[in-house]
Symmetry: C2
Subunit: 479 residues, 2 copies
């Protein structure tokens, strides 16, 4: 359906006062646009859990394709990688060409995790559209498509050439994407002037933002093994180096209760803070009280807006995600797990490098801590993802066009923000294509991407569609 839309006939020249018409069209069509989002959310396109069922759902989501091969899992299983969609609309040399990147896969979600509604049935409550992928990233991808199709429906001339790159493995580390961008650098990407991504959130409920940097991520697994089988804690408790005790000590050595990472050298390459950068944090409109309430957190580690923003955007953080192989069900099982795997990740900031962090974590820190325990178990550490941070030049044309479009649609200047999470493709595009990359989020701060009860507001979805339409016109003017 997507490709048919993009290949649809080019319309006659648009009236110069067409923007109002476009906005009205998007508002009138909004129930149809929500219905399309509902159909997209209904596909369980989970790329994280390596099961054939979810991989089939990803293929349902992605209708046309560049072949991307298969993914080799640690356990020997091989799963096909969903193809990547490359599409284009318009080839007018007088117009700027903007390429939109989005992803159609989602994080895992199950009703039992604490969802109040079925995660794969988009459900509207008080103007909020709940569903896995609603805001990350199916809603924003559709908003972009809505903007393009509004021009077409009204037979207005699209002021920019459009390219699309849509993938299905973002939540699993964008396997195969970088290779594809390399390969298509001088073909599909040859005429691209600007690359736009809409895969993050505002820092406010109502005030839009433009994003010029993201943290990277290095994801680690640490396995401690005594034997493959579990033990009975009555029969063996007291005479073993228990793998869970070793693992808990290893995980407990990583970060202190103030959030400070305890791995020696980890802060060595963090960029120093300039006065200019400090001023950016001051001007951002973040209502701490509202932020605390919307995130349902009693107390953060820091008390000021500046400290909080800096610890989300320009300092590394370490999170422990969980343990595989231990007892994780309800009930009281008296087991000594024989082999357990802890999972944690460190968000990377300029100018940290994943390969340096890998050495600091593995060869130095964890091996030190483990050897001091004098345990007879076997430890194996692995960095399964290593994604560098990204930072952009904010005086580029597309950043100016976005600011103007935001003023038109929302009547305000945007917050100039960075994002604490990792969208590796931003850095990949900037490095490989060498063009301006911008992130233009449309979701509100409380959308709950990756968590239970993810949603996008109907308002954000529709105004976001308008924003992209206005952005096309501004970009054409500035180019």
């Amino acid at each position: 359906a997507l490709l048919l839309l993009l290949q649809g006939g080019m319309a006659s020249p648009a009236p110069s006062e067409g923007l109002e018409q476009l906005f009205r069209h998007l508002e009138l069509q909004q129930d149809a646009l929500v219905q399309t989002l509902k159909e997209w959310v209904a596909i369980e396109s989970d790329s994280v859990q390596p099961s054939p069922r979810f991989r089939e759902e990803l293929f349902r989501m992605i209708v046309d394709s560049v072949d991307t091969g298969s993914q080799q899992l640690p356990d020997g299983q091989s799963l096909p990688i969903p193809p990547i969609i490359l599409a284009e609309l318009g080839n007018d040399l007088k117009k700027p060409t903007v390429c939109f990147y989005g992803h159609l896969d989602v994080q895992p979600a199950a009703r039992g995790d604490g969802w109040l509604t079925d995660p794969y049935t988009l459900t509207e409550v008080d103007g909020k559209l709940y569903g896995r992928g609603a805001t990350d990233n199916k809603g924003p991808v559709l908003a972009w498509i809505n903007a393009v199709s509004a021009f077409q429906a009204l037979e207005q001339d699209l002021p920019v050439n459009i390219k699309f790159i849509l993938e299905g493995m973002e939540e699993a580390g964008s396997v195969a994407l970088e290779e594809l961008v390399q390969k298509e650098k001088d073909r599909f990407f040859a005429g691209v002037d600007y690359i736009l991504i809409s895969d993050n959130l505002w820092v406010s409920w109502r005030k839009p933002a433009v994003t010029y940097g993201t943290r990277g991520n290095s994801y680690f697994t640490v396995e401690v093994k005594c034997r493959d089988q579990d033990f009975h804690s009555g029969t063996f408790g007291g005479i073993l180096n228990e793998p869970m005790a070793d693992l808990v000590a290893l995980l407990g050595s990583l970060v202190d209760s103030s959030g400070h990472i305890l791995i020696p050298g980890i802060y060595d390459h963090v960029a120093s803070l300039t006065e200019e950068e400090k001023n950016i944090y001051k001007s951002i409109d973040l209502d701490l009280e509202e932020y605390r309430n919307s995130s349902q957190v009693k107390k953060f580690l820091f008390d000021t807006k500046e400290e909080i923003l800096m610890h989300l955007w320009r300092y590394p953080s370490l999170s422990i995600h969980g343990i595989e192989g231990a007892f994780d069900e309800p009930g009281a099982k008296t087991v000594i797990p024989g082999r357990v795997t802890g999972k944690f990740s460190i968000r990377l900031v300029p100018h940290m490098s994943a390969s340096v962090v890998e050495k600091q974590v593995t060869s130095h820190h964890l091996e030190d801590v483990f050897s001091k325990r004098n345990s007879s178990n076997h430890m194996a550490v692995s960095m399964v993802l290593g994604l560098p941070p990204w930072i952009a030049n904010i005086s580029d044309n597309q950043y100016l066009a976005a600011k103007r479009a935001i003023r038109t649609v929302f009547g305000t200047d945007p917050d100039m923000i960075r994002d604490g999470s990792t969208i590796p493709i931003a850095r990949i595009f900037q490095e490989i294509i060498g063009k301006s990359v911008m992130m233009l989020p449309i979701g509100a701060v409380d959308d709950g991407e990756h968590s239970q009860n993810e949603k996008i507001n109907r308002w954000n979805y529709i105004e976001g569609s308008k924003l992209f339409a206005a952005f096309f016109l501004e970009l054409a003017k500035l180019h």
Copy 2:
């Protein structure tokens, strides 16, 4: 089928040289006896996972009953408790009455946990009968029934009166059993002289054992909660007291890498070691090399037989079982769990008390550790099981009868052992009924109760059936 068997007609007087006949009968019938075990194992009588499906399987396993009410789960769910079977055979005042306790429920098991065969299909490989419950406790329960039915099949006089008590909630803490024993103290249990349990293992592959003590168990959950929903580690990593960091610190404060429990006061009430007790450990036939190989453990915490046995039997131990609510699947999910529950247990020995341990763990130790972290999260500790240890008088008649029967069947003296795991019913019977309680295991040390690939050897199952038959005759002589 069980009750029909037990209610079957009493046979004519047995010949005094009937033991050989009984043994031959049991050997000739062994394929039929294994087939019956296969049918019992095929029922997924999992009492640990609180799901209606497994509870139905438990009802299938237990054919007749004393009503035991229902079980209230922490989440508000209510599940029926499987009824407890009380059965009797013979009421001759000149004969001793021996009551056999067993359980028909099993630990959770799934192929995906690392089983090489389907856990609920008894599968014989090289004389080993693999299946969940094969040794814990379906095999031993059937061995007892095999012994009784051999007397009946050969029309020999059963030299003892038999009582049975079979329950279906042992692995879930024998919910409702203690109340039942209290209630039936002066009815069903009125004429009982001896109570026998066969719910543990030898310490050797081939040498039998008699067990005169078990450790108790106190099972704890510690929940750390920031909010009910999870967080995205990019969006919130760096500004939160993350519940997993708190929980890992709490769990890491419990035990050091030498197995020493770090909770202040925990060793205060442990019985001091006498010279007499030391000698028992010396005489036990434990081949450490064989033990290490059979358990597939590279190195234990201790190097001598005596130290190992004492740390399994007469010292407390602490095991961390796992974490509920964190990321426990394969893959690399970048989640900050919002609410996590750690699970650990402490095996109790004479003269520790569960209520004292509960205070030491909760009000003192964990609250101290947590308050020092100055975390804004909420911690809740709960002792969900508190089962005292048990120790018996080994000069009682039934211990002598067991030794003689073991000499007859196996040609050796037994190891006089204790068990590191918890069979609370031993202490309950001893306290409430006030009669001699003995544990007479028939499974080998490598049976893997509670772990993947649980099995009972065909040899142990059949010789164990003979042992019970010989025991009846010896007990009648001594009484």
